[in-house]
């Protein structure tokens, strides 16, 4: 049997799936190895009783529609998949912040409606909100220029023509908003979205946040009709249709190197498998731990040591024996926080911080049987928030205490009755994600998008950061950090890049 492949992709998360779909479609002999028995990592679904739950996706960014396709739509479309996209209608979210300077607001999709909904909440903020959103096309123009110069832009051109880009990309969200004269309350309203990138907006790179915000505002959010499992199976289908192989229950335990330090394959299920190129959807930390440490370039090892792990979450999945109308939930997404300020929300996450409540039936009414509905709670927490002295035998109680706390909070904050209707419940914590994803501390996407390790700085450092010959990375631990769409985009980019390299050299 032939154990030599053109490309081996390690891990069938969003990035790995998109990468493998591209290399297979380009006619390269592709093998995707996945340690679980199904693809997707978090992009999957699970059943309890008569419910099928979405485990992780809140709102997929950068999709767009058939008429106005955005990048994620195009990725799936170009690969030949037929995804049943469903769209959130009207409001993009409701945000409730308690305490002084708190609010309870619904922000609308579409730039004009978004600005209007902001002005209604914070009279006088319109100009600054418009100015903030108007930065996005300027950033795109600057990025296009940087790409056109192959990463060596003329400093003077940048300063003269793209000064707003430099001011934006070099500063945090809140620094830019404050410079634009945006009232604090308006900032807090918009910055509700910080949780999706896992870093509060006083530290989060402005350009990164703006990219996400703009896409949500302009395109609204999309969801696959049949939970994320649909997206993952669609990509597997592409790989298999183009002759690629997907092996489940096949955990990679070692990365194989040649004498010269380049990667030549992996070991999975005790078997050596070779490839011209390896793409890892697995976080560098784990790859380095499965490698001969002498083969890891010093800078790469230092970088891994310098980094902090990104945010994880605790999640609660409820199947309720009442309809969404009986429950009284009218919004798909509600953000609820004890304080309007993102930094405080981050720092007080154990008590009155931020939690998100999603009701999928408000986007896909028949995502559960008539007379039932589902709720999905997300609480941003770090893996190291899990108590050090927590024993396995106390874990069930830990989960249930956590779930009880947030369900009761939502009952109070939203004025609805949840507890008596619970027909199915499942609770996940960083322990669950550590188990399912195998990442250190159960981090979801990888490394924290810290001020020093932000999107722009990562893009600038990409060549140096991924320096092992024959090995590419894709996934949330790559330049773009957190988010479903980012993982697909990076996987797509890396898959195409590897395909071009192999085909160019043939």
């Amino acid at each position: 049997m032939d154990k030599m492949f053109d490309v081996i992709v390690v891990g069938a998360g969003n990035g790995g799936l998109a990468a493998a779909a591209n290399t297979a479609k380009e006619g390269l002999k592709t093998l995707l190895l996945e340690k679980h028995n199904i693809p997707g990592g978090c992009a999957t679904s699970f059943r309890r009783g008569r419910f099928e739950f979405e485990p992780s996706l809140h709102e997929l960014c950068s999709v767009g529609t058939a008429e106005k396709p955005n990048i994620v739509y195009k990725i799936f479309d170009d690969l030949g998949t037929k995804i049943n996209w469903e769209y959130e209608k009207g409001h993009i979210f409701r945000t409730i912040a308690k305490g002084e300077n708190g609010f309870d607001a619904r922000l609308s999709a579409g730039i004009e409606d978004f600005v209007k909904s902001m002005e209604k909440e914070v009279p006088g903020c319109e100009a600054s909100v418009r100015a903030f959103l108007a930065l996005k096309p300027k950033l795109d123009a600057a990025i296009d220029y940087i790409y056109a110069t192959k990463g060596n832009p003329n400093g003077l051109v940048m300063l003269l023509k793209h000064a707003d880009f430099m001011r934006t990309a070099g500063h945090s969200v809140e620094e830019v908003m404050t410079a634009l004269g945006m009232p604090k309350k308006a900032q807090d309203l918009i910055n509700t979205y910080w949780g999706y990138l896992g870093v509060p907006t006083d530290e989060l790179n402005c350009m990164h946040f703006l990219n996400m915000l703009y896409d949500y505002v302009v395109n609204g959010a999309a969801m696959p009709r049949h939970r994320s499992h649909e997206l993952s199976l669609a990509l597997v289908d592409v790989i298999q249709k183009h002759g690629g192989e997907v092996w489940y229950n096949s955990e990679v335990t070692e990365f194989l190197y040649k004498e010269d330090g380049s990667i030549c394959g992996v070991v999975a299920n005790g078997e050596k498998l070779y490839a011209k190129e390896v793409i890892s959807n697995v976080i560098p930390h784990n790859v380095f731990n499965m490698s001969d440490i002498k083969k890891i370039p010093e800078q790469n090892l230092k970088l891994a040591n310098a980094r902090e792990f990104g945010i994880s979450v605790a999640t609660i999945y409820l199947g309720l024996d009442c309809s969404i109308e009986e429950l009284g939930m009218t919004d798909y997404t509600v953000f609820i926080a004890g304080n309007p300020d993102p930094r405080v929300q981050n720092d007080t996450r154990h008590d009155d911080g931020l939690y998100i409540v999603n009701s999928l039936n408000n986007v896909i009414p028949d995502s559960s049987e008539p007379g039932t509905c589902t709720m999905f709670f997300t609480i941003p927490v770090y893996g190291n928030d899990v108590p050090k002295d927590l024993k396995p035998q106390d874990y069930k109680k830990y989960k249930n205490d956590l779930a009880k706390k947030y369900i009761e909070a939502a009952e109070k904050d939203l004025g609805i009755s949840i507890m008596p209707h619970i027909e199915e419940i499942s609770v996940a914590t960083p322990v669950t994600f550590a188990h399912y994803l195998g990442t250190p501390e159960g981090t979801i996407y990888g490394y924290k998008l810290s001020g020093w390790d932000n999107l722009m700085a990562r893009i600038a450092g990409e060549q140096k950061d991924f320096a092992i010959p024959g090995l590419s990375f894709c996934g949330g631990h790559h330049t773009r950090g957190d988010g479903y769409s980012s993982a697909y985009i990076i996987g797509d980019t890396v898959g195409k890049r590897v395909a071009a390299k192999l085909k160019g050299g043939a």
Partner: protein
Amino acid sequence: MAKPNLRKLNPMDFTKMTPTRDAKIESAPAKALPATESYVPNQIANALHPDVQHLKVAKIVEHGTDAKTYFLEANSSKGTKALAWFSAGQYLSISLEIGKVKLTRPYSLSSSPREALEGNYKLTIKRVKDGLASNYILDNWTVGTEVTASEPLGVFTYEPLRDANTIIGIAGGSGITPFRSLAKAIADGDEDASLILLYGSRTLEDAIFQEEFKELEKSCNKFKLVNVLSHEENEACEKGFITAELIKKYAPEGNYSLFLCGPQAMYDFVDKEIATLGLRRKFIRHELFGEYFNPSKETDYPANVAPEFKVTVRIAGNKQTITAPADTSLLRSLEANGIAAPAHCRSGECGWCHSKLVSGEVYTPKSIDGRREADLIYGYIHPCCAFPLSDVTIEVPPMKKY
């Protein structure tokens, strides 16, 4: 008022980003990274969800002529240092090799989670007529036999935010085992619920765990046993079957949850009785239905199905073709041909056997179809409850090697 602008922000700050990052990286050590297993969430995850548990039979207790309880301890020489904690009601999927047949069977743990901390899992196994696995185990396992088991699995557990605080357990035959676990877990203080156990047997002699249950009743006022005997008069027991009337007789004021575990015949009878009680679905929980046989009894099963088909199986790059009877699940046909295939619940529910139907047609009974919506679009099946209707090609994940 001036148009909002960014003039207050220094564009040159942008040029500092890369040097700042480089300096931060440079100042970090180039040392080996901590092992993933060293982080707290990973440690707990590994303790709760080991890939495999290597066990050894430490003791055997016989219950009459056709049931035995096996005490299993960690087989440290094979690398299992401690038994994973679990929730009362969960099961272990046991891997067996019987001749050339490689198979798995789910067995509920009859011991409490606390007993696992003390070093033992208990599996109570009853002989099933023509049962390949139960007969093999009862005839072959002796003290010292090495056993390969999964992590604890299954969702037939008490969930305090979902279930009523009083559980009425309805058990028949070997379906008693998860209730022995739950009763003990309540007595141990690990589950905060009350259990009223209606245990259906032919005669009191057929009912196992009687002594233990009596002890538990004495030591714990949250547990009560009611033996229901169909073929024996006994003053201390109820006579007959488990009916709606009987459930009402022992039910508390207010809400209660019904937990059922027993043979299909028991479900067929008791489910009809329960239907008259008007309980909400959330208060009725069934343990796995067990393996499904004879699909042709279903009204939507097609007519004129040939007796057997060719099944081509692809596993991790290897290919093999076998002959499979139409009335046998694809999983059983694979196993009968010595092909190890992943499976846990064997009841359509858990999805561990999730496989791709590359070509051909299969029949999956609706009542046990636990597939996800997208599985139906992209042609995935659960071989444990899929029956061939034509020659088929399936792609099955390999068994993990341990």
